[in-house]
């Protein structure tokens, strides 16, 4: 599965995108897995209330299931317009 990071999430983790091989059942499971990797991930995911998530380019929440999903993106609240 491709995992994408935008804005300060991208800056904190240090890369815009990576392929992740995971058995995580939900977005939250994936977050826990990433948090356990390295300090920069733990820092980026420290407060998930400050984050938003899209699964296959649709906004969703952290309970969303990941079966069959190709792309997950993490980013701060959007500031368009």
């Amino acid at each position: 599965m491709d995992v994408l990071y935008f804005a300060w999430v991208r800056e904190r983790i240090g890369i815009p995108q990576e392929a992740v091989d995971t058995q995580a059942g939900t977005v939250m499971d994936l977050v826990e897995e990433l948090r356990g990797r390295e300090e920069r991930y733990a820092a980026a995911f420290a407060d998930i209330s400050a984050l938003r998530v899209a699964v296959d380019q649709q906004l969703t929440d952290f309970d969303a299931p990941l079966s069959g999903v190709r792309e997950v993106a993490f980013f701060p609240p959007m500031t368009g317009g």
Binding site: A7, M78, G80
Partner: protein
């Protein structure tokens, strides 16, 4: 309906005139244009990041919602990304409806959703460095009225 996401500038005059041209069904056309504003007097640039693919899909969905809800004859959304200077136009929306109330409401709806539901992130560059713009509670709250 037309959705444009680009780093190049757009021409408000051409876009507004083209959008309004020859409408005989719609009596009302509203446009909104967002411009980079130097809030505290030290802004050097505004950088806009987006999520290619999802951006176009999200804007299309928002515009389709507006067209259906207010029976619009047409809607236009243009949003830039990349580096912009003070005074540059960031984005515009346009709506065409039979009555002015619908054209105004639909344009405000497009703006409210575009602010908080389209995957753009703004960063302000000043002499002190660059800071991501924080989402404002009132922009999130604005969605509550729809």
């Amino acid at each position: 309906m037309r959705i444009v996401v680009q780093d190049a500038p757009f021409d408000l005059g051409t876009e507004a005139a083209g959008f309004a041209e020859g409408r005989a069904v719609s009596g009302a056309v509203v446009t909104f244009t967002g411009i980079v504003r130097d809030v505290d007097g030290g802004l050097q640039a505004m950088e806009i990041e987006h999520y290619p693919g999802m951006t176009e899909a999200a804007l299309t969905e928002i515009a389709e919602q507006a067209i259906s809800r207010w029976s619009l004859e047409d809607a236009l959304v243009i949003h830039r990304h990349g580096r912009l200077e003070v005074g540059d136009m960031i984005m515009m929306v346009a709506t065409a409806a039979r009555h002015r109330k619908d054209a105004f409401e639909a344009a405000e709806y497009l703006m409210d959703y575009l602010k908080s539901r389209a995957p753009f992130w703004k960063r302000e560059v000043t002499a002190d460095g660059a800071d991501w713009v924080a989402a404002r509670d009132e922009d999130e709250d604005a969605l509550g009225r729809w």
